[in-house]
Amino acid sequence: MTERIHHHKNHMTLLSGLIIAAAFIAKAFKMAEWSNVLLIAATVIAVIPIAIKAWQAIRMRVFSIELLVTMAVIGAVFIHEYTESAVVTFLFLFGDYLEVRTLQKTRSSLKELVDMAPQEATLLREDGTRQNISIDDVQEGHRLVVLPGGKIPVDGVIVQGHASINEAAITGESRPINKANDDHVYSGSILDTGYIEIIVEKVGDDTTFSKIIELVEEAQDSKSKAERFLDRFSNYYTPAVTLLSVLVYIMTRDVHLAITFLVIACPGALVIGAPVSNVAGIGNGAKNGVLIKGGDIMGNFAKVDTLVFDKTGTLTKGKPEVTDLHTFTFMPTDKILGLVAKAETISEHHLGQTIVKEAERKGMDLNSYTISESEAIKGHGITATVDGYSIVAGNRKLMNTERIEISSDATQYAVNREKAGNTSIFIAIDNHLVAIISIADQVRDDAKVALEDMRENGIKRIVMLTGDNRHTARAVAKQLGIDEFHAELLPNEKVEYVKKLKEQGAIVAMAGDGINDAPAIATADIGLAMGEGGTDVSMETADVVLMADKLSQYAHAYSLSKATIRNMHQNITIALAVVVILILGVLAGQLHLAGGMFIHEGSVLVVILNAMRLIGFKTKASQKLNKQNHKVRESYVS
């Protein structure tokens, strides 16, 4: 029975609204008797669901707002204020209905994510046949097939085929990326074109996608300082006003005034104002690939005035690339590259591997060369014989020990390249210096715009800390307009710098990647991790995670936190102002039951609507970027 009533609550609200309208018409035609009968009917209909809730709470010995309203309404009927009783119950139910609808909007960002969770998978059996199975039946080690337009059901690794995959659900980045053998794919992403077979690695709650959703849920429900303050306030406010209404009755014997106090004792906007801002803000972040883990973090983040960055992998791509191959001979560059790359296949050093990759990228077949007598000299380079040529590749020291002369031209060239942020690798063939290969870890494409954007939004100081050498650090700092940099640091020295900045009174956000930055990230007021598609460690330790490794997401998150806190302050102001207006209005005798309920419900809706503005929040920079992309696309079309 109670469930049926609960189910039909909205219908009952509508019905009571219609009856109230009829009652007003009757009143207009001077049919007071009829009008009163209708109003009583409307009151009874609308009070039933409220009273049931109140009763259910009492039975469990819990105090509820429904109880206050029920008491107030019974009181109003008792003193023949039928209009008031009908309007109050109707407004309470109707307000509740509107709150459900609008609150769902503020929660929509997360719901959109949850709805992207895959429901089924296509299993590839050993005999080659396919079978559709429920997501709950997928187990680790299963081999699955994903077809174009299909959702990747679990976390896994590609063992066959290649595809372009949209990982927006994980990274917020909607441009598809290409993946092939040995690449990892994540549950919730969508296969755009292509075909892949994957081996299942993680299922159910262990997938990155499930973890993101859980983190966002936890974040949205973790309370900020403002919320805790408001909770405490309303804990005192409600009982105090209830007590006050009893006192008012004892002193004035005015039932009407006492009941009005009861109705305004429900501090609706006060309790909901701050949480809705947070929910909408955190939801916006999640949709844009930024996990902000809670209201407190949102608040601290908005106060940050100093940014500290790790260099490699954070400001730069973390993937060294060959930026130049400069020759001092007539031998074709491709031939030199091929010989050196073949020699470097024996090297485990990342610079050597970068040269191998460059050759492969150019489509060279390194198997067509033959290598003999090779040696890797740790910290210096390699020597090898390839196709009969004697190859020496490495730094200056290696050239010295191998007695290879470096001309002053070559020296000048190398120094210039190093000042521009490169590492120079000297190449000698048959005891003559023939080329210098420059390798650099390039800065992220969006780094400069993102830093400028954050400076505009209130960042005073940007610091770079790196383990890399001074030249490279200076080049990157200059390129990005960074205020100060400290090079050749060990992880614990990075921690010291962050501590020092905090002691100077700065509110520090530290962004880094990898395990070596973890201590500094933990020391800062706000720790940011590049998620790289979500490694467990970074997702759990950092306060803010950038899922697509983009610095533009950082800029977005920073201005989002400011907008969210602003929004929250607006809501708190509205809520407190409403409380003051209600109390003054009642005390001055200007405000009655129905009016009080109207302001109460209205203020709740106002704060929810205000918070909803955050759902579509975009930074100026991202709008600019979007516009540019749009223009580029248009120019392709025309």
């Binding site: 109670t2 469930e3 609960h6 049931i52 809730k53 259910q56 709470a57 039975r59 469990m60 010995r61 819990v62 509820s64 707002i65 509740d96 709150e99 459900v100 609150l103 769902q104 929660r107 997360l110 849920e217 936890e218 949205q220 429900d221 609706g268 309790v271 909901i272 949480p275 929910v279």
Partner: protein, 73 residues
Amino acid sequence: MSKGIFQLGPLTCPSCIKKIETTLNKTEGVESAKVMFNSSKVKTEFDESQVNASQLEETIKKLGYPVLSSKVL
């Protein structure tokens, strides 16, 4: 100790949180109960020898909040 997660219909009044939490915490065998207002979920830890998930579900229902789905870990 088992963990139960109950998905409710959308919660609207923050006072519901206290209602559900206090009731569940008073229930024998419940170690902890937390209501997540925004995701409208109840997370509980309970001792299965004293109380089971369907009893908890019944308690929440009696308070006036229909349980849409439940999961026990």
